[in-house]
Assembly symmetry: C2
Homo-oligomer: 156 residues x 2
Amino acid sequence: MSTCEIPNTAQPQVMTARSRVMRFHAGAGPAEPHTWQGVPVTAYKPPSDDHCGVNRAVLAGETGEHTAFHVRYFEVAPGGHTTLEHHVHEHVVIVLRGRGEVRLGDSIHPLDYGDAVYVAPDEVHQLRNLDASEPFGFLCMVDARRDKPNMASTSK
Amino acid sequence: MSTCEIPNTAQPQVMTARSRVMRFHAGAGPAEPHTWQGVPVTAYKPPSDDHCGVNRAVLAGETGEHTAFHVRYFEVAPGGHTTLEHHVHEHVVIVLRGRGEVRLGDSIHPLDYGDAVYVAPDEVHQLRNLDASEPFGFLCMVDARRDKPNMASTSK
């Protein structure tokens, strides 16, 4: 499987969430994502030139929870990156796998395990995998009610 | 330092948050918590009989962010536990260090690295460190606007 072929195992939503434990399984090697039992891994967005090799798993917020936030886990394949974009809603990111970099406005910052990022409103940002063999995985928390992202040009 | 003596390095809040990277530092040994650069480690609550050995670090939500949620990291010392409590607001927990267990209603579930927990509204819950030497650390996301916890009895 190339880095841009993304498994889609989406399942129907349930409308009322009960307390639960989601068991973690660490991905072994670049072809296997980190997963949580019962949590489907889906494509981030339809394939496009502006992002590449991004999977996501929604741990909470889309399966009957009433939280004002969503907890997602994104995994970017070697050579992959998220869209360069901006939006009013904020991000809180925490790295769980591999190493990468984040662009915040005009600055680029390397990221390693455990590093956390706060992305302020309207900040142009992008996450990129810097490793040739290991996926770059991170939690990303956002408001449940949020605006749609706008693609950004590199000149902003 | 005993497991119930908690360093308090709280700092004044700032009112406007800018994008930032918070560098992670892994704690080495039971006396050193996991930390993030610029994020103070504080006591969870004033010392009490109903919880023991719990530190917290607030990664986002109390320093000028406008998120509808807070991202906190709690670390429970060996032999420690959080309060047995319930409240309307939900929790999303993700384990980052050590191993422990969570009580959800009348059920107790072991937790290891990476495991995630969703705590539904009004669920009686408690987190407990099961390891004799390693702290039990976990992220805990909550709504920014939330009700106060109520202590629970074991008979509920």
